[in-house]
Symmetry: C2
Subunit: 288 residues, 2 copies
């Protein structure tokens, strides 16, 4: 058993108040784990809406202002905006502040974020596995993280106290936390999340290119297989670009696997096909 | 509005009493649309179980015997067994009997089935879109077909009265029926069902080949995308082999689409990637 870490942040800045940022804010407020939460975002309309919904207490369209005096700053914008935002926010970060993020890619981005932190500001990378094909503040829910996994990606430079605080943050909202290196994180999530998104997007586009009328004949199987193709193109564009080495490797492996099917099909090798299917069924059935 | 066709079959033979065959039997019995139902199958254990569950009234391990005196015969075994079974059942088929099937592939198989029917026996191909990754008699449900689509694939030789009876059969158990040619059926279902199964199987095998430990990090997205990889290897082997021309065509198109992603990724073309994702999101969102 891990001793429970009691966390409380007097002031939190959430940069990007969408599904994940908004849900985290809501979840911390409902549990009384923070004093106040300030939002930053690009669209004033959705910040105003978040304030109406009492998800945040105030907001600023200036990242440095939003971060002023904050004890915890959470980056919850698409990962492609992290660097620019870190540069802009830097002026507002106080000494001792903890910065974390909810980005689905880590890898080199974690080292870049570390290098962009002003003296005395401590960065810890994190990734709660809790998205869906929905996005936006209207989808925010206080229980989004309950039972979800959250990966923390400390490096050799990570401050151990900041790591405990960020671990405590995610545990308090219901996550099971696990640590791994940023590079291992990206290898794993390329496999079980990022590449499957590419596959779903490519599958829909292929079928749609054959005949746009076909899709209406789809049953539950196709719906489930391609549900994630409704995910935000902007968020997944950034994830794909940042994790492209792993994605290109997986794409090659996957295309080889499909070519194997093609050869088995072309030669009418029914037992060979069944064997491939059986292997997949077995591996997938390990997952509940 | 289509005038409702009242159907009643004195004796029905269900060849293959699994998820689909068993659910059809259950559904017809509950609605009082038949006198008695005899099952045929390869495993006596599951036929006995089907009888215990009152899904069938009796069974035979001899196809011709099971079909004896039946007014309606439903082929519900994997499509790879159709021809052999049609040859075996032929001796038991009475003049005027209607034969249908629930196979997920039609195409040339429909013409072969027609050619295997004894004089006076009328075949009509059908395909209720109502499976799941589950299979077997224990999964049978009387409401499986409610709201499902059922495709009928008449040819120029199809007896019109038999076609109305089979249409009435599926409507009575809750299906929305639609007619199309056997070849068009296979083109459409290769796209929205058969090829997506190949993709799901291949995706699981690819990820599993990178590292069998990775799969435990999967979230809901991966689970949904690969759910159909738990489908019966035997059933899907037969479907794949029978629809291989369409599958090979789709596999080439799909791999080209993935290669396009790879080129966009390799060149860091973020707007190009976003555009592909956006196109897919739009097409997928047309499906509710």
């Amino acid at each position: 058993m891990i001793a429970e870490v009691k966390i409380f942040f007097e002031k939190i800045a959430v940069l990007g108040v969408g599904l994940i940022g908004g849900s985290l804010a809501l979840s911390l407020k409902q549990r009384g784990l923070c004093g106040s939460i300030v939002g930053f975002g690009r669209k004033e309309g959705s910040l105003r809406r978040a304030q109406e919904l009492k998800i945040i207490d105030g907001y600023s369209l200036d990242a440095a202002k939003a971060c002023m005096d904050a004890d915890l700053i959470v980056f919850a914008v698409p990962v492609g905006l992290f660097k620019e935002l870190a540069l802009k926010a830097a002026a507002g970060l106080k000494k001792g502040a903890i910065v974390t993020d909810v980005g689905s890619v880590k890898g080199m981005l974690v080292f870049e974020m570390e290098s962009l932190m002003p003296q005395g500001v401590r960065y810890v990378g994190s990734h709660p596995i809790s998205g869906s094909e929905n996005s936006g503040i209207e989808e925010a829910r206080a229980d989004l993280f309950e039972g979800a996994q959250c990966i923390l990606t400390p490096t050799e430079s990570t401050d151990r106290n900041a790591l405990s605080s960020v671990t405590g943050l995610w545990s308090s909202v219901g996550c099971k936390t696990e640590e791994m290196t940023p590079l291992r994180h990206d290898e794993i999530y390329a496999s079980v999340s990022h590449f499957p998104h590419m596959v779903a997007y490519a599958l829909v586009n292929s079928i749609d290119s054959v005949d746009p009328e076909f899709i209406r004949y789809a049953g539950q199987g196709f719906k489930d297989t391609t549900r994630i193709a409704m995910s935000s193109p902007e968020i997944w564009r950034d994830i794909s670009v940042h994790n492209r080495e792993n994605l290109l490797k997986l794409s090659r492996l996957f295309r080889e696997r499909l070519e194997l099917f093609d050869r088995l099909l072309a030669s009418g090798d029914a037992p060979g096909i069944e064997e491939e299917f059986r292997k997949a069924k077995e591996a997938r059935s390990r997952l509940k």
